[in-house]
C-alpha cells in the first residue's frame, strides 16, 4: 500500500513532486540495472534511497516497478532490503509485475544466510497479491521448519499474512496445525509468541464456520497450554508477555489454589517498568478474583502503588494511558482510594486531558474525611488560566456538594466564586447553585442573598442565564427586585437568542406574578405578548398555554406553575452500570481510555481479543448444545435490521434496556446481562414451557440436545426425531430469497398461556430458548402487542432448511407460525412445529443437566461448570460421588432443623401436662408414667411427640431415650404391622439424635417382617446425618443401591444435599446433586432450597446464581427462603445492580420481603452510602404493601444513614415520615445513632424536639438515657442533664 498522497501540500524544494524526477530516476535505474561494476552498489543505494524517500512523502513511484526489480539482483543486503520495502508497497497495485519479483524472492528464500532467508520470506508473504499465493506455500512450509529461529519467527507471522490473503490456502496447507506444534515446542520464545498471535487471529476468524477451529481456540485456554505459557513467561520479551497475559486473563482456573498460584507467579510482573506488562498483569489479577470479593479488594490495594508509580514515571502519554485505568478503578471503588486523593491533584503543567481525569477522580473519592481538602484544592483550579479546566473544577465542586458531603462549607465557596467576577466562573456557578437549591432548598436564603447581587447583564451564557432566571422566579418572594430584574429581561426579549432562556423567562415571570402580582403584572403582560409572537414553537406554545391557564383560573395556574416542591435527591447518572461493567471487562484496552465499551467505537471484526474472550465464555461449556448459540446469534446481531423497518428495530432493541446505547451486547448473547436480569429472562423461558405438549416430543428434544444422559425408564419409546443442525448457518440474503420462493408447507395457529405472553416482554429469552433447540433466529422485531420472529433451522444430515415465521399477538395471546421448507415433506414440517412449539415438558427439561447452560450464555465459564460436565460424563458411578462426598466431609456434629419434614407439625410449644410430669418424674418411673397416661392424650391433635421429645432431650437425654423405648415396646406389644408408626419413630430418633435407637427400630421392623421401603432408609439416613454419623449414612446409602426394592429415591438425595448444605460443604453438596441427576431424579424445590442456601453459606455465589437460574428454567417457582438466600448472596457480593434486579423481580412477583432481607439490603446500601437507593426501596416497599417490620427496618436504615453522615435535616425529615406512618424505632441503637448525630453537631434544641417527637411512640432504654446523660454532661448543659435524670427516674431506671 502506498503512503497517503499529499497532493494538497505545496511542494517544498526538498520534496520534489513532479513527474520529471521520477522519469529521471527511471533512466538512472535502467543504467545501473545490469551493472556489476565496482561502486555500482553504492550508486544503486543512492538511487534506491531516493525512490524510498519519494515513496515515503507520498509521491507515486510505482511506475519504477520494473526497473526496481531489475536492479534487485544484488548481494548487497542494504539494497535488498530497500528493494523488498519498495516491492511490498507497490506489489498490490501491480499484480502482474509482482510476478517478476517472485523469482528472486523464492531464490532468496533458499539463501545460505538465514537473515536473507527470513527477509525474503517476509517480503514474499507481504506482497498481498492473491494470485501469487501458490508460490508462497512451499517457501513458507520450509521456513517453518528452518533451523534458524529468525526464519521461523518470520515464518510464524507469515502464515498469518498468507491467511489474510487466502484463508483457504493457508488452512488447506495445514499451517495452523504446524503453528500449533511450533507454539508448544519451539525453543525460541519469539517463535512461540508469533505462533500464538497468528493462531489466535486465524482460529478466531475460522471459529464462526469451523467447529474444529473454535475447539482449537478454546483449547488455547486449557490448563496445560496456559501453564506452559505461564511457566515460560519470563523468557518472553516484554511485548510477548503482554500477549500471554492477555490470554491468561481469559483462563478460568478450576479452584482457588490455582488462582493464588497464578497470582504469586505473576506478582513480580507488577514491578515491571513497562506499563503495558503491569496493566496486563493487573487485568489477570482482577479477572481471576472477580468471584472472591475480599481477595478482589486486596488486589485493588496491591495494584495501587505500581499504578501510581507508572503514572508518575514515563512520558506524559504513557502516564495518561495508565491514569485512565486508574481512573476506571477509582470510579469503581472510590472508597479504596479515598486516602490517596493527593495523588490526583492537578499540576499546573499537565495537559488538560490529564487534568480532566484527575478532576473526576477527585470528585469520586471525596468523602467526609477529605472533602475539605479536596474542595480547597478544586477552588484553586477555578482561577486557572485554562478556562475549560476552571469550568470543570467548578462543576466538580458542585458534584461533591450534590454528593452531600459537608455542604455547608461548599456552599460558601461556591458563593465566593460569584465574587470572582469572571464571566465563565459566574456562569458555571449559577448553574450549580440552581442544582444545589433543587436538592437542598434549605440553603435558599444564603444563596439568594448572593445571587440577588448578580446583574443579569453580566450573565450571557444561556445555561447560566436560564439558571438565574429560574432562581428569580422560584425565589421571587425573597429577592427584593426580582420583578424588576425580570421585567428588564423581558424588555430585551428580542435580544435573547436562546429558546431555553425564553422558556425559563416565561415560567419565571408567571411564578413571580403569582407571588407578587401588582409588581409583575406589567412584565407578565409583556412576556406573554412577546411569547405569543415568538417564532419558536415551544416558546409560543408555552406562552399560549399560560395565557389560557390564567384566563381559565388563576389558582389552577398557581398549582401548575408552583406545585409543592420536592427536593431532588438523585441526579441522573450519565452512564449505566452495565456500560461501566462492560468497560471494566475490557480492562487494558481502548475502551478504558474512551470510557466507552468497544462496540461503540469498533467494527465487529476489529473488536480485538475481548470479543473473542466473551465468545469463549459461552463456548467453553463444552462441545454440546451451547456451541450453537454463538454463531447463530452473531448472524442475528449482524443482520437484525435486514427484515425490519426502522421503528421495529428500535422497539426490539430498546425493549428492556435502559437507554438506547446499551443494546448491542444484549443481542450478542455473548454479553453479560447481570445476574438478575438473566434470571428474569430464564424465568420467562421456563414460563414459555409451561403449556405442556405431548411428552413424546421430549425425547426428540433430548436427543436434539445431544446429551447422552439416560432417561427415566418410564419414558415412552421415542418417535422418529427430527435432528437439526446445531450450527446451522444461513445468510439473510438467502433467507429472504428462499422465503419468497418457497410455498408455505405448514401454517398453524395456537394460543398462548399468560406466562408465555409475559415472557415475550423479553424476546431475547424466547430467542435463546429457540436457539437451545437449534432453531435460530435471523430477525425479529415488532411493537407490543405484535411481535414477529423469523427463524431458520437445518436438518442435521442434509442441507435441507426450514424457514419459520412466527407472529405473536400478546394482547390476544394468539400466535401463528408459518413453516416453509426446502423439503416439501409435510410431516417433517409437522415435527419441526412440534419442536418449535413453546411447550416442552417440564420434567425432561429439568432432567437435562446441561439444558440450563445451553440456554444461558453465562458471562464467564464458571470453574465448577467444567468440573460438572466432566462429572456428568462419569455419572452413574454414584460410588465415586460417594467418595467425593466422604472426602469433602469433616466429622462434625450436625444439627438439622426439622423444617423440611412433613410428618410432624410445627405446633408451638403448648404447656403439655405430660411433659411437665415427665420432667418431674425420676428416670426409673418414666415408662410407668407413660403407661399410665391415657391413650387419649397421644391421639389428641394437640399432642406432638416431636416437641415433647426435643424439650425432654434438652433437659434429660436419658428420659428421651426411655420415651422412645417405651413407644417401641408399645408398638411391639401391639404387634404393629403398619409402616408409618415405625417411620415416625425413626424420625423422632432424628430429633434426639439417637442413631442406635433408630437402628433398633429398624431391626425390630425387620424382625416383624415389615416390608422395607426407600422411605425407611431415608428416615434412617436422615437420622444418621442429623447426628453427624456420616459413615453410617453412606453405608446405608450403599445398601440402598445394592438392594432391589429400596433404591435411593429423590428424597434420599435431597436429604444428603440438605445436610451438606447445612454443613456449608458445597462441594459435597454439588456432588450429591449431580448424583441425584445421574440417578435420574429431577431436583425439586427443596433440593434447590438446600443447594442455594448451601452455596450461599459457603460463599460460592456463582453456583448459587446458577442453581437459581436452573431452577427458574425448570419452571419451579422459588420460595421466600430461596429468594432470601439469593439476596443474601448478592448483598455479600456487593453487586448493587443485581440486587436491584432481584428486588424488582420480587416486587413484580409480589413476593414478601422479610425483615432479614431488608436488613441485608440496608447493610448493602449503607456500605455504598446510597441513601437514594434506600429511599427508592422504601417507596417500592410501601407500594407493594410489605410488612410493617420491613418498612420499619428500612426507615430506620435511612435514618441511621443520615445520622451517621450528620445530615440532621434529612434525618429529621425521615424520622418525621416514619412516625407519621405509625412506626417507631426498632432498637435503641438507631435512636442512639440519631442522638449522637445531634451531639456531634451540637444541635441540642433539635435533639429536644426529636426526643419530644418520639416520646409517644418509643420508650427510651437505659442505654439511651446513659448516652444522653453523657452527652449533656460533656456539653456542660446541666439543665438538660437534670431533665434527663428526671426522665430516667420516671422510667424507673434508678
Amino acid at each position: 500500500m502506498a503512503p497517503p498522497a499529499q497532493s494538497q501540500r505545496s511542494p517544498s524544494p526538498s520534496q520534489p513532486s513532479g513527474k520529471g524526477e521520477v522519469s529521471d530516476l527511471k533512466l538512472q535505474l535502467r543504467q545501473h540495472a545490469g551493472s556489476r561494476a565496482p561502486g555500482a552498489d553504492d550508486a544503486k543505494r543512492e538511487l534506491f534511497k531516493k525512490v524510498i524517500s519519494y515513496m515515503t512523502i507520498g509521491i507515486d513511484v510505482s511506475s519504477l516497478f520494473g526497473e526496481m526489480v531489475m536492479c534487485s539482483v544484488t548481494s548487497d543486503i542494504v539494497l535488498k532490503k530497500m528493494c523488498y520495502l519498495y516491492v511490498g508497497n507497490y506489489a498490490k497495485g501491480n499484480p502482474d509485475l509482482a510476478l517478476l519479483t517472485i523469482n528472486f524472492l523464492q531464490k532468496d528464500c533458499k539463501d545460505e544466510d538465514p537473515m536473507i532467508r527470513g527477509l525474503a520470506l517476509r517480503s514474499l508473504c507481504s506482497l498481498r497479491v492473491a494470485n501469487l499465493v501458490e508460490y508462497l506455500v512451499g517457501p513458507l512450509g520450509s521456513g517453518l521448519k528452518d533451523s534458524n529461529s529468525y526464519v521461523r519467527t518470520v515464518a510464524a507471522s507469515a502464515v498469518l499474512k498468507l491467511y489474510h490473503i487466502s484463508a483457504s490456502t493457508c488452512v488447506d496447507a495445514d499451517f495452523p496445525a504446524i503453528l500449533k506444534h511450533l507454539m508448544l515446542n519451539d525453543q525460541d520464545t519469539q517463535v512461540v509468541a508469533n505462533c500464538l498471535s497468528s493462531l489466535q487471529e486465524i482460529w478466531s476468524s475460522e471459529a464462526s464456520t469451523s467447529e474444529e477451529a473454535s475447539r482449537e481456540r478454546e483449547a488455547l485456554l486449557s490448563k496445560p497450554v496456559i501453564y506452559y505459557f505461564l511457566n515460560r513467561i519470563k523468557e518472553f520479551s516484554e511485548w510477548a508477555q503482554c500477549l500471554v497475559l492477555e490470554l491468561v486473563a481469559n483462563y478460568v482456573p478450576s479452584d482457588n489454589s490455582e488462582i493464588f498460584d497464578i497470582m504469586n507467579l505473576l506478582e513480580d510482573r507488577l514491578q515491571h517498568a513497562n506499563g503495558a506488562v503491569v496493566l496486563a498483569t493487573i487485568k489477570v489479577f482482577l479477572q481471576l478474583t472477580l468471584s472472591m470479593a475480599d481477595v478482589h479488594q486486596q488486589v485493588y490495594e496491591r495494584i495501587k502503588a505500581p499504578l501510581l508509580t507508572l503514572v508518575s514515571s514515563g512520558s506524559q502519554e504513557q502516564s495518561y494511558a495508565v491514569l485512565s485505568h486508574l481512573h476506571l478503578l477509582v470510579m469503581r471503588a472510590p472508597i479504596l482510594f479515598s486516602s490517596d486523593y493527593k495523588h490526583f491533584y492537578c499540576q499546573y503543567n499537565e495537559p488538560s486531558y490529564v487534568k480532566k481525569l484527575k478532576l473526576e477522580m477527585l470528585t469520586a473519592v471525596a468523602n467526609e474525611s477529605n472533602t475539605y481538602e479536596i474542595v480547597t484544592e478544586l477552588c484553586e483550579y477555578a482561577a486557572n488560566v485554562d478556562i475549560p479546566i476552571a469550568r470543570e473544577s467548578i462543576r466538580a465542586v458542585g458534584k461533591i456538594a450534590l454528593q452531600q458531603y459537608d455542604v455547608n462549607a461548599i456552599v460558601d465557596r461556591l458563593l465566593q466564586f460569584l465574587e470572582m467576577e469572571k464571566d465563565y466562573v459566574t456562569a458555571e456557578t449559577l448553574v450549580l447553585v440552581k442544582d444545589l437549591l433543587r436538592k437542598y432548598p434549605q440553603w435558599s436564603h444564603d444563596c439568594i442573598a448572593v445571587v440577588g447581587n448578580i446583574s443579569s447583564k453580566n450573565v450571557q451564557e444561556p445555561k447560566a442565564k436560564a439558571a438565574l432566571i429560574w432562581m428569580l422566579g422560584e425565589y421571587s418572594q425573597d429577592m427584593h427586585d426580582a420583578p424588576y430584574v425580570l421585567e428588564s429581561v423581558v424588555d430585551n426579549w428580542d435580544d435573547e437568542h436562546s429558546a431555553e432562556v425564553r422558556l425559563h423567562l416565561l415560567t419565571a415571570v408567571l411564578k413571580c406574578f403569582l407571588k407578587r402580582p401588582p409588581e409583575t403584572q406589567k412584565a407578565l403582560g409583556a412576556a406573554l405578548a412577546a411569547g405569543l409572537a415568538d417564532f419558536h414553537q415551544d416558546v409560543h406554545d408555552r406562552a399560549l398555554f399560560y395565557y389560557r391557564l390564567l384566563q381559565y383560573n388563576v389558582s389552577v395556574a398557581e398549582r401548575v406553575v408552583n406545585p409543592p416542591k420536592q427536593a431532588v435527591s438523585v441526579f441522573a447518572d450519565t452512564q449505566s452500570s452495565e456500560v461501566k461493567d462492560r468497560i471494566f471487562d475490557e480492562f487494558n484496552s481502548l475502551s478504558v481510555v474512551y470510557q466507552k465499551p468497544s462496540y461503540m467505537f469498533t467494527d465487529k471484526e476489529h473488536r480485538g481479543p475481548f470479543e473473542f474472550s466473551d465468545e469463549l465464555g459461552s463456548l467453553s461449556i463444552g462441545a454440546d448444545s451451547a456451541d450453537n448459540v454463538v454463531p447463530a446469534q452473531r448472524v442475528e446481531a449482524n443482520d437484525k435490521d435486514l427484515l425490519l423497518s426502522t421503528s421495529e428495530k428500535e422497539e426490539s432493541r430498546g425493549a428492556t434496556n435502559n437507554g438506547s446505547a446499551y443494546n448491542a451486547p444484549m443481542y450478542d448473547g455473548t454479553s453479560m446481562p447481570t445476574g438478575a436480569s438473566q434470571l428474569q429472562s430464564e424465568l420467562a423461558i421456563s414460563n414459555t414451557m409451561v403449556p405442556s405438549h405431548s411428552p413424546s416430543s421430549s425425547l426428540a428434544v433430548d436427543d436434539l440436545l445431544g446429551l447422552g444422559v439416560p432417561l427415566a425408564p418410564a419414558s415412552p419409546p421415542p418417535p422418529p426425531p427430527l435432528k437439526l443442525n446445531e450450527k446451522a448457518v444461513l445468510d439473510p440474503g438467502t433467507f429472504q430469497q428462499k422465503w419468497r420462493q418457497l410455498p408455505i408447507s405448514l401454517s398453524q395457529d395456537y394460543s398462548m398461556s399468560p406466562q408465555g405472553v409475559a415472557a415475550l416482554t423479553r424476546p431475547q429469552a424466547f430467542l435463546r430458548h429457540m436457539q437451545g433447540h437449534s432453531i435460530h433466529c435471523i430477525a425479529s422485531g415488532g411493537q407490543a402487542p405484535n411481535f414477529k420472529f423469523f427463524f431458520f433451522a437445518q436438518k442435521a444430515e442434509e442441507p435441507s432448511t426450514f424457514l419459520v415465521e412466527c407472529i405473536i399477538n400478546t394482547s390476544s395471546a394468539k400466535g401463528q407460525i408459518k413453516i416453509k421448507a426446502d423439503d416439501q415433506n409435510r410431516s417433517l414440517s409437522l415435527s419441526l412445529s412440534a419442536q418449535l412449539n413453546i411447550g416442552i415438558p417440564q420434567r425432561h427439561v429439568t432432567l437435562q443437566p446441561n439444558t440450563p447452560l445451553s440456554i444461558n450464555p453465562l458471562q464467564k465459564p464458571k470453574p465448577a461448570k467444567r468440573a460438572r460436565t466432566e462429572e456428568i460424563k462419569n455419572m452413574g458411578f454414584v460410588l465415586r460421588v460417594l467418595s467425593v462426598a466422604k472426602r469433602g466431609l469433616r466429622p462434625r456434629l450436625v444439627l438439622i432443623p426439622c423444617r423440611s419434614q412433613r410428618l410432624f407439625c410445627d405446633k408451638p410449644l403448648v404447656s403439655n401436662p405430660l411433659l411437665i410430669k415427665l420432667l418431674q418424674e425420676s428416670i426409673s418411673r418414666i415408662k410407668t408414667v407413660l403407661d399410665s397416661e391415657d391413650n387419649f392424650t397421644f391421639k389428641s391433635s394437640d399432642f406432638s411427640w416431636d416437641i415433647l421429645l426435643t424439650t425432654l432431650k434438652s433437659s434429660s437425654p436419658a428420659k428421651a431415650h426411655l420415651v422412645l423405648e417405651w413407644r417401641l415396646e408399645k408398638m411391639v406389644r401391639d404387634n404393629e404391622r403398619d409402616l408409618v408408626p415405625y417411620l415416625e419413630l425413626i424420625f423422632l430418633c432424628s430429633k434426639v439424635q439417637n442413631v442406635p435407637f433408630a437402628m433398633r427400630v429398624f431391626n425390630s421392623m425387620e424382625a416383624h417382617g415389615i416390608k422395607l421401603t426407600s422411605s425407611v432408609f431415608n428416615a434412617l439416613i436422615y437420622t444418621c446425618l442429623s447426628s453427624g454419623n456420616v459413615m453410617t449414612a453412606l453405608s446405608l446409602f450403599e445398601i440402598m443401591q445394592s438392594s432391589e426394592n429400596c433404591k435411593p429415591n429423590s428424597e434420599t438425595y435431597n436429604t444428603f444435599i440438605s445436610v451438606y448444605s447445612n454443613l456449608g460443604n458445597d462441594k459435597a453438596m454439588q456432588a450429591w446433586y449431580l448424583a441425584q441427576k445421574g440417578a435420574g431424579f429431577s431436583a425439586d424445590l427443596r433440593t434447590y432450597e438446600s443447594l442455594i442456601s448451601g452455596c450461599v453459606r459457603s460463599r460460592n455465589f456463582d453456583c448459587a446464581d446458577r442453581f437459581y437460574e436452573e431452577m427458574m428454567l425448570s419452571g419451579i417457582m422459588p420460595n421466600g427462603q430461596i429468594l432470601e438466600n439469593i439476596l443474601r448472596g448478592l448483598c455479600e457480593q456487593r453487586s448493587i445492580s443485581k440486587v436491584e434486579q432481584l428486588l424488582k423481580f420480587m416486587m413484580d412477583g409480589e413476593w414478601e420481603i422479610n425483615v432479614s432481607m431488608a436488613e441485608k439490603l440496608m447493610g448493602l446500601y449503607f456500605e455504598h452510602g446510597t441513601v437514594e437507593k434506600m429511599e427508592e426501596l422504601l417507596l417500592n416497599l410501601m407500594n407493594s404493601n410489605q410488612s410493617f417490620a420491613v418498612l420499619q427496618q428500612v426507615h430506620c436504615g435511612i435514618i441511621r444513614m443520615h445520622a451517621m453522615l450528620d445530615r440532621l435535616d434529612d434525618m429529621e425529615y425521615s424520622v418525621g415520615r416514619m412516625l407519621k406512618q405509625g412506626m417507631s424505632f426498632r432498637c435503641p441503637d438507631d435512636i442512639e445513632k440519631v442522638v449522637c448525630a445531634y451531639f456531634r453537631r451540637e444541635a441540642y434544641e433539635r435533639l429536644d424536639l426529636f426526643l419530644g417527637h418520639i416520646k409517644g411512640s418509643y420508650k427510651l432504654t437505659k442505654s439511651t438515657y446513659d448516652l444522653l446523660v453523657a452527652g449533656y454532661r460533656r456539653a456542660g448543659l446541666s439543665e438538660k442533664l437534670d431533665l434527663v435524670m428526671d426522665g430516667m427516674k420516671l422510667a424507673g431506671f434508678f
Partner: protein, 495 residues
C-alpha cells in the same frame, strides 16, 4: 496489533511511513495531523495521546518535536502501543545518537530497517537495541551535535516529561568513534522530579519525588553489572498513609513508596543488600523508576509576592533561597511564573551585582522567566518585576498569577538521598573461560572531591575521561563511568 506506524514532522510531513496490515485507508496521516492541529485551535488543549476517528484509533507520542504515530482498528491495549511508540523513539535515538527531524530524514532507510524488525504484521517483535543490531546494516549518518539547539533542562520540563535525554552524550550505539576506536562507556544518571506545594505560610502541603535511575551503556560484550543502592532503603510504606509524615523511621533510611525495574534487572540480592544485578542492554534505558513521598528537605524555598500598585500596575517579588550546604552549587536555574492574562508589559529589576541572570516576559503565554546560571548553597536571590495591565484590576490578583515552577541541576545532590553506592562490572574475556573472570569495582565515594566540568550544552557530566581513578587500564579496554544527579523542582505556591 497495530496497522500503521509513521513519524510526522512538526509541519505534518511524513518522515517515515510504514503500513503493516493495510487495514487503515490512505490519508490516515493527514487525518491525524489535521485532528491534532485543530484540537489545539479549538481551545481544547492538547489532543489526547489516543483518539478515534471513523473507527481508526490514532496513538501518538511527542518526542523531540516529532510525532510518533500508530494506527489500528482493533481495540488494543493503549498502554502497549504508547509504550511501544516511546520505545521505538528511544531505539531510533540509540542508533542515530541524536533524535531530531534532521537526523531522522538523513537516516530514514536505517529507520525502515529498524521498523521492519521491530514490528511484523502489526505485532511487536523486539525493541531491544542490541538484538536489533544484527539485523541492521545501514550505517548511521551522524548529525553534527554542535549545530543542534541545546535541550536545556527547562525545555524538557515544559514538555512535561521528567525523562531527560539522559546524558549529554549523543552517540550512536553502532557508530564508531572517530579514529575507529570504541570507547567502553557507561552512563548512570539519577534524575528526580520534585513537586512541592507550599502554603502561603511556608508549610509544605504536598511533596513528591519521582525519580529514575537511567543508564546508557556502550559496553561491548554485555558484561554483568552490579549496582548498589543505599543499604538503608525500604520500599513501601506498609499500611500507613502516604502522607503520614510522623512515620519516617530514623534519619538515615530512604523510604520509597514504590518502584519498578527494567526487565533486565535481577532482584535476587536486592532484598538482602540492595544491589541490582543486570546485564545492561545497549543504549539508553531506565534501570529503576521510583516514587517517594517521604518527608524531605526541598533544596530551594521560593517566595512570591504580588502586590497591586495602582489600577493598572502590580509588582511581583520573587525570592529564591538555596537551602543546601554552601559547598554545593546549583546550575542552570530557570524560574517561571504565569502572569495575569491582561499583562502587557513587564520591567525587571535585579539585585545590584547580580551576575549571569536572564529575565524575560514571554508575551505569547504571559509568562515570566528568570534564569540564573549558578546559585551557591545558602544564598538568596531576588527579582522584582513591575507589571503593567491593559485593564483595571478587579478581584484577587493573586488568583490570576499561576504557580511558580523552577528547574535546576544540582550536581551531587539529590533530594531523595537515594544513591548509587558503587557500580561493579564483571567482564568476560573474549575467549570464554570461567576461570578468567575479572571483577571491576568502581566506587563512587571519591566523586565528591571532583570538580565538575561544564560541557558545551550546559549540562554537567562527571568523570570525563582522564578524571582520577575512574578508569582502570586493563589491556586495551578502558571503562568510563559517567554519573550525575539531576533534579527538577516544581513548586506550587499558594499565594
Amino acid at each position: 496489533m497495530i496497522s500503521q506506524f509513521f513519524v510526522l514532522s512538526q509541519r505534518g510531513d511524513n518522515i517515515v511511513f510504514r503500513d503493516y496490515r493495510g487495514e487503515v485507508p490512505k490519508g490516515s496521516a493527514e487525518i491525524f495531523f489535521r485532528k491534532v492541529k485543530f484540537w489545539k485551535e479549538d481551545g481544547e488543549g492538547d489532543a489526547p495521546p489516543v483518539f478515534n476517528v471513523d473507527g481508526v484509533n490514532y496513538f501518538h507520542v511527542k518526542v523531540a518535536g516529532l510525532l510518533f504515530v500508530a494506527t489500528t482498528r482493533v481495540n488494543v491495549s493503549p498502554s502497549l502501543v504508547l509504550e511501544l511508540l516511546q520505545r521505538i523513539a528511544r531505539v531510533i535515538k540509540d542508533y542515530l545518537g541524536i533524535l531530531n527531524e534532521d537526523s531522522l530524514r538523513k537516516n530514514f532507510v536505517l529507520v525502515y530497517e529498524l521498523l521492519d524488525e521491530v514490528i511484523d504484521f502489526g505485532y511487536v517483535q523486539t525493541t531491544s537495541t542490541e538484538v536489533l543490531k544484527s539485523y541492521v546494516f545501514n550505517e548511521p549518518i551522524v548529525v553534527d551535535a554542535a549545530r543542534l539547539p541545546t535541550l536545556g533542562p527547562a525545555s524538557i520540563f515544559m514538555q512535561g516529561t521528567k525523562r531527560m535525554p539522559g546524558t549529554a552524550v549523543t552517540k550512536s550505539v553502532v557508530a564508531n568513534e572517530p579514529g575507529g576506536r570504541k570507547r567502553e562507556e557507561i552512563f548512570v544518571d539519577i534524575i528526580e522530579k520534585i513537586s512541592v506545594t507550599f502554603s502561603s505560610s511556608g508549610y509544605i502541603l504536598t511533596s513528591e519525588i519521582d525519580g529514575t535511575i537511567q543508564m546508557k551503556s556502550y559496553l561491548t560484550g554485555n558484561p554483568e553489572i552490579r549496582l548498589a543502592l543505599n543499604e538503608e532503603l525500604s520500599i513501601g510504606r506498609g499500611g500507613r498513609s502516604i502522607y503520614d509524615y510522623n512515620s519516617s523511621t530514623g534519619s538515615g533510611t530512604v523510604i520509597l513508596d514504590d518502584c519498578n525495574f527494567h526487565e533486565s534487572v535481577h532482584l535476587d540480592s536486592f532484598d538482602i543488600d540492595r544491589t541490582l544485578t543486570l546485564v545492561p542492554p545497549d543504549g539508553e534505558f531506565p534501570v529503576m523508576n521510583y516514587r517517594m513521598t517521604q518527608e524531605f528537605k526541598p533544596p530551594f524555598r521560593i517566595n512570591a509576592l504580588i502586590e497591586e500598585a495602582g489600577a493598572l500596575r502590580a509588582e511581583v517579588i520573587l525570592k529564591v533561597r538555596a537551602e543546601f550546604p554552601s559547598s554545593i552549587t546549583a546550575n542552570t536555574i530557570q524560574v517561571q511564573m504565569p502572569l495575569p492574562p491582561y499583562t502587557t508589559r513587564v520591567s525587571f529589576e535585579l539585585e545590584p551585582g547580580a551576575v549571569g541572570n536572564t529575565t524575560d516576559f514571554k508575551e505569547a503565554n504571559k509568562r515570566l522567566e528568570w534564569g540564573l546560571k549558578k546559585i551557591v548553597g545558602g544564598s538568596e536571590h531576588t527579582l522584582r518585576a513591575k507589571l503593567t495591565f491593559s485593564q483595571e484590576l478587579h478581584g484577587n490578583i493573586t488568583r490570576e498569577a499561576g504557580p511558580v515552577s523552577m528547574t535546576f541541576t544540582i550536581p551531587m545532590y539529590n533530594a531523595s538521598r537515594l544513591q548509587v553506592k558503587y557500580l561493579q562490572i564483571s567482564k568476560k574475556s573474549k575467549a570464554y573461560n570461567p576461570y578468567r573472570w575479572e571483577n571491576w569495582a568502581i566506587f563512587l565515594a571519591w566523586l565528591i572531591d571532583m570538580q565538575p566540568s561544564c560541557r558545551s550544552d550546559g549540562m554537567v557530566a562527571y568523570g570525563e575521561p582522564g578524571g582520577l581513578g575512574l578508569q582502570k587500564q586493563h589491556g586495551h579496554i578502558e571503562y568510563t563511568l559517567y554519573m550525575y544527579y539531576k533534579s527538577l523542582l516544581n513548586v506550587t505556591l499558594d499565594l
